[in-house]
């Protein structure tokens, strides 16, 4: 039980050098093990980001979209992309291919907002060998934030999509990355067959219908609620001219960088009627101003831009049977939206 508080002025102890060596070994050893581990992970490239000079074999196991899209977004089979969150997830690449002839990849990430989606779009565009032909961006209410930082609601691996290799390497220092090494190795060695679906489509409608939606009762109750029943009505927007939508500027920059003959399609996803702010409420004015700002900014940057607004009062959004909850629609709505998307594509192409 040493490290005693009593100070002793005795001569240096014989094991002093041994302890010095011990301390140096501990620190230098940790630095070396850490550097080796990160280098090995970098070379194994567990998320198939293409940054490793070796092991460029494509494909990863069925990861969550936030990490799986790193591999998906590099796939040269696609010439068009869908960006957004779960509210655009049901739009089917296969059906869009039949209607437009383009190969869309679904890169939507549940719970994500504009900052995450812009990072994913950059990633997709940065990994094209041929010019991109179409980009579909779901501009839901998260794009209407007034915060220029475009804050995220959930953690998102921005490091995985970082332009700088150093940021990426620093991001590799994570337990979840370490856990991804064995499956990636077994894939590289041809020992596991499980693969990520390349086009990113996930039919949650079919899955919920088959398994049952655990939260169905809560969702129904939520849909019956009328948050705007007593909201004050105005003849004019009470905050006219004072609103700012910083995401619009970012969208404009992105639009301006698209190749001239690419098509940019902005889709405003639907809300179930009770969750839709009625005409004359401040929220309705705000959302309308937001859509206008986003569309104007995109059109300024890129001529071939189309806007499809489904956040409106229409028969499909009045039918509770076509919604799981206030914001997630079912297949019939998705198909109707796809028809609109195909029309818009033909119109501006």
């Amino acid at each position: 039980m040493n490290s005693s508080i009593s100070s002793s002025d005795a001569a240096a102890r014989p094991d002093g050098p041994l302890w010095r060596r011990f301390a140096v070994t501990l620190v230098a050893g940790a630095a070396a093990v850490l550097a080796l581990a990160l280098a090995a992970i970098f070379l194994i490239d567990p998320y198939d980001t293409g940054r490793s000079p070796f092991f460029s074999q494509a494909g990863v196991r069925a990861l969550a979209p936030a990490t799986g899209n790193a591999s998906r977004g590099r796939d040269p089979a696609f010439d068009a992309m869908i960006a957004g969150n779960s509210r655009i997830q049901l739009i089917s690449p296969e059906r869009l291919k039949a209607a437009t002839g383009l190969d869309f990849v679904q890169m939507s990430v549940p719970g994500s907002g504009p900052r995450e989606q812009l990072a994913l779009i950059d990633w997709f565009l940065g990994h094209r060998r041929a010019p991109v032909k179409a980009l579909l961006v779901s501009i839901d209410e998260s794009w209407c934030t007034a915060d220029p930082a475009l804050p995220s609601e959930r953690p998102f691996p921005f490091w995985l999509y970082a332009a700088s290799r150093l940021d990426y390497a620093r991001g590799l220092l994570r337990w979840e990355v370490l856990e991804e090494v064995p499956p990636r190795l077994s894939h590289l060695l041809g020992m596991s067959a499980e693969r990520l679906r390349p086009d990113g489509y996930w039919d949650y409608d079919a899955e919920y219908t088959q398994k049952g939606d655990k939260a169905a009762a809560a969702h129904r109750q939520e849909m019956r609620a009328r948050p705007y029943a007593n909201a004050q009505r105005y003849d004019r927007d009470p905050a006219e001219g004072t609103r700012s939508f910083p995401a619009a500027e970012r969208l404009g920059t992105l639009a301006a960088a698209l190749p001239g003959d690419a098509v940019l399609i902005l889709v405003v996803p639907p809300l179930y009627i009770n969750a839709l702010p009625p005409e004359g409420t401040e929220q309705a004015f705000r959302l309308r101003a937001c859509t206008a700002a986003l569309a104007e900014s995109a059109r300024k940057g890129h001529a071939r831009t189309a806007l499809i607004d489904w956040r409106t009062d229409r028969p499909e959004t009045r039918d509770p049977a076509r919604f799981f909850d206030r914001v997630h629609y079912r297949q019939p709505v998705a198909r109707a939206m796809e028809a609109d998307i195909a029309d818009a594509f033909r119109r501006v192409r």
């Binding site: 508080i5 094991d15 010095r20 070994t25 050893g29």
Partner: protein, 457 residues
């Protein structure tokens, strides 16, 4: 800046060690001012707005101490202690007392949104210890830098251990890297730091995943099934131990790197065979403070049994309140006060209990009261208690593996301090610690950021 963060481990700590090592070698007179500057920077990194509070607290208390020494006016000390407690009360208990006041009809309600300055509960007690001993003539007057360092020394400023001035002041005068055992201290400090990090990240934090959702559900009024209730109680029992003792190991290890030995805070508390035994092994520096500055001041065991029981009860209840501004904390402290009083009567009656039975009873009591400590309301605690006896559903499923590993380490294993002091200086062991440190670093990299439980107090 958490000890378990990259910014601390990769930036602040190496920079602080380099700066401290350089002045210790070339400008020993600057060592303490540099250490104080580093400590204030560390504290300010959390929230710079509280730095003036910490500095002001140091300066005012030091000025009072100096005035007392020069004038001999003994009233200054109780006034200063009262002022310290008032500052603590305003920051920590204002809303608590205001909410209690609403129970009295006719009183106005007032609520203040005020952030709790980190470490205030700890540094307030540091001032009290020093001022009390100064008045008794035990403590000398120090210069402001030394006094500032006693209060703000970064390994202990946020969550202890609570250090007596007499344990640390003479250490400031040393040339720590000229001691014959300097290298050994640094090596053992590094090992302690790694042990503390491992305890927190590999045991404490994973347990919180088992515990938090269940207490949240209980707070929302949901029924808690049998297995879940036991999982929450057992899980929290070991989570709080590994979280807090892990933090303490880090604090002790870091202090050793800077040539300071801080006092022990834990001595295998879950091996206790009585509640009295438990409080000699759990958060020892707090127990010691409560005993020496509260219990004995109230009369302790020198004025008859009735006074002793009352002093025990009052001390533990106040100790409960110190942990947080909530009636659940008060109830937790009061329960411990009552049980300690029962223990006094038991011993007075000359009764004895076989050690295994004593251990089982002590553990059960400690775990049951941890529920009260962790729950955000009495209702939430009640949901867990109901669950423990199966009133919330009979589902016995429980995630037991991590809990079992944690229990074995906590009950059978030595304390980290004892463990690292048994280790010989072998290279293979150093490499083992290096690998463990890297594993911990990978754990720290995950996005979930775990604060220390005791930072709320």
């Amino acid at each position: 800046m958490l000890f378990n963060s990259f910014i601390f481990l990769f930036a602040f700590l190496p920079a602080a060690l380099l700066a401290h090592g350089a002045v210790e070698r070339f400008r020993p007179a600057w060592r303490l001012p540099v250490l104080l500057g580093l400590s204030l920077f560390f504290y300010g990194y959390w929230d710079w707005r509280f730095v003036p509070l910490l500095i002001g607290s140091i300066v005012v208390n030091w000025l009072v101490a100096r005035a007392f020494v020069r004038s001999g006016l003994s009233i200054l000390i109780p006034l200063a202690i009262t002022a310290n407690l008032l500052v603590l009360a305003v920051f920590k208990y204002f809303n608590f007392f205001m909410d209690l006041a609403t129970l009295v009809p006719g009183l106005p309600t007032l609520h203040m949104e005020i952030a709790l300055p980190l470490g205030i509960s700890f540094f307030t007690f540091h001032h009290i210890m020093y001022l009390t001993d100064l008045k008794k003539g035990k403590a000398p007057l120090y210069d402001p830098v030394r006094y500032g360092l006693y209060i703000a020394f970064f390994p202990q400023v946020l969550a202890g251990p609570l250090v007596r001035w007499s344990e640390i002041m003479h250490q400031f005068e040393e040339r720590p890297y000229r001691r014959p055992d300097a290298d050994e201290r640094i090596a053992r400090g590094l090992m302690l730091l790694v042990c503390g990090l491992a305890k927190k990240t590999l045991l404490g934090d994973p347990l919180s995943e088992y515990v938090n959702p269940i207490f949240q559900a209980a707070a929302a009024g949901k029924a808690i099934a049998l297995g879940e209730a036991w999982q929450a109680m057992l899980g929290f029992t070991f989570q709080i131990y590994f979280d807090f003792s892990g933090y303490t190991d880090m604090a002790l290890g870091l202090a050793l790197l800077f040539g300071i030995v801080l006092p022990q805070n834990f001595d295998v508390p879950y091996r206790s065979v009585s509640l009295q035994d438990f409080w000699r092994r759990w958060h020892m520096t707090l127990s010691r403070f409560l005993r020496d500055y509260l219990y004995i001041a109230m009369g302790g065991n020198r004025k008859g049994l009735a006074i002793q029981l009352a002093a025990l009860f009052a001390t533990m209840t106040l100790g409960g309140l110190w942990h947080g501004a909530g009636l659940t904390f008060v109830a937790w402290g009061a329960a411990h006060g009552l049980a300690l009083g029962a223990g006094v009567l038991w011993r007075r009656a000359g009764l004895a209990l076989p050690r295994p039975a004593g251990w089982v009873l002590t553990m059960l009591f400690v775990m049951l009261t941890w529920v009260l400590f962790r729950a955000t309301s009495f209702d939430a605690a009640l949901r867990i208690y109901e669950g423990l006896i199966g009133l919330g559903g009979a589902d016995p499923s429980i995630k037991w593996r991590t809990i079992l590993v944690a229990a074995l380490v906590a009950v059978l294993g030595p304390t980290a301090w004892t463990f690292v002091h048994r280790i010989p200086p072998r290279r293979a062991i150093a490499i083992g610690f290096a690998v463990l440190l890297v594993v911990v670093l990978f754990k720290l990299g995950d996005d979930a950021n775990y604060e220390f439980i005791y930072f709320q107090f």
